[in-house]
């Protein structure tokens, strides 16, 4: 149990990279990238977890309560939203590629270059 959440984060990252490398469709590749990205959130929050701690919000708990680590949560929180806009940028690039070359298969794009 003590390393299981870390292992899950590692698995999500590796499976995302595998999908990214073997993808035959750029839209699918962007989806795989967002999977790999979510591994970092799982890892960060797993690192910050404290057994028996509550959420680091003191609006209805006394300030002496044991809480989980808020620093890693702040790191993950901003990246979730910022990461989505970067995904949007990548999808916009895919749309442009499809418009200009008529394909979203990275292998076909490679052949087009020559």
């Amino acid at each position: 149990m003590s390393v299981f959440p870390y292992a899950v984060a590692g698995w999500i990252f590796l499976v995302g990279v595998y999908g990214l490398a073997t993808s035959r469709n750029l839209v699918h590749a962007v989806g795989c990238l967002s999977v790999a990205q979510s591994a970092t959130y799982v890892l960060l929050l797993a690192v910050g977890y404290r057994r028996g701690g509550t959420a680091p919000v003191f609006s209805d708990t006394p300030t002496t309560a044991s809480v989980v680590d808020p620093v890693v949560q702040a790191l993950a929180l901003t990246d979730v939203v910022v990461g989505a806009t970067v995904t949007a940028l990548l999808l916009a690039l895919v749309v442009q590629t499809a418009k200009r070359h008529g394909t979203t298969d990275p292998d076909e794009l490679h052949e087009l270059k020559g």
Partner: protein, 84 residues
């Protein structure tokens, strides 16, 4: 008890992530990604991170899949024209 919930949520997330990668059709992948987003939001909440869960819920289960679906629609429309 809390540990059991964490393990269950993380197992669901790992399974959803694998399914999202193995679904080679982007439109189907978008649906699985939205499931993954939902699973991640639950996992984050169980890990006592409601702030992150809230932002993951909006982004992962609605925004990203919607943008992927719209991209798929645009790309397919372009391809259909190309074949004519």
């Amino acid at each position: 008890m809390a540990d059991v919930l964490v393990v269950l949520a993380l197992m669901f997330v790992a399974a959803a992530a694998t399914a999202a990668v193995l679904n080679r059709d982007p439109a189907r992948q978008a649906v699985v990604l939205s499931l993954l987003g939902l699973g991640l939001a639950v996992a984050f909440t169980v890990l006592q991170a409601p702030d992150v869960g809230l932002s993951q819920l909006g982004v992962g289960s609605a925004l990203t899949p919607l943008m992927i679906l719209l991209t798929v629609r645009k790309v397919r429309k372009g391809k259909g024209r190309g074949r004519e």
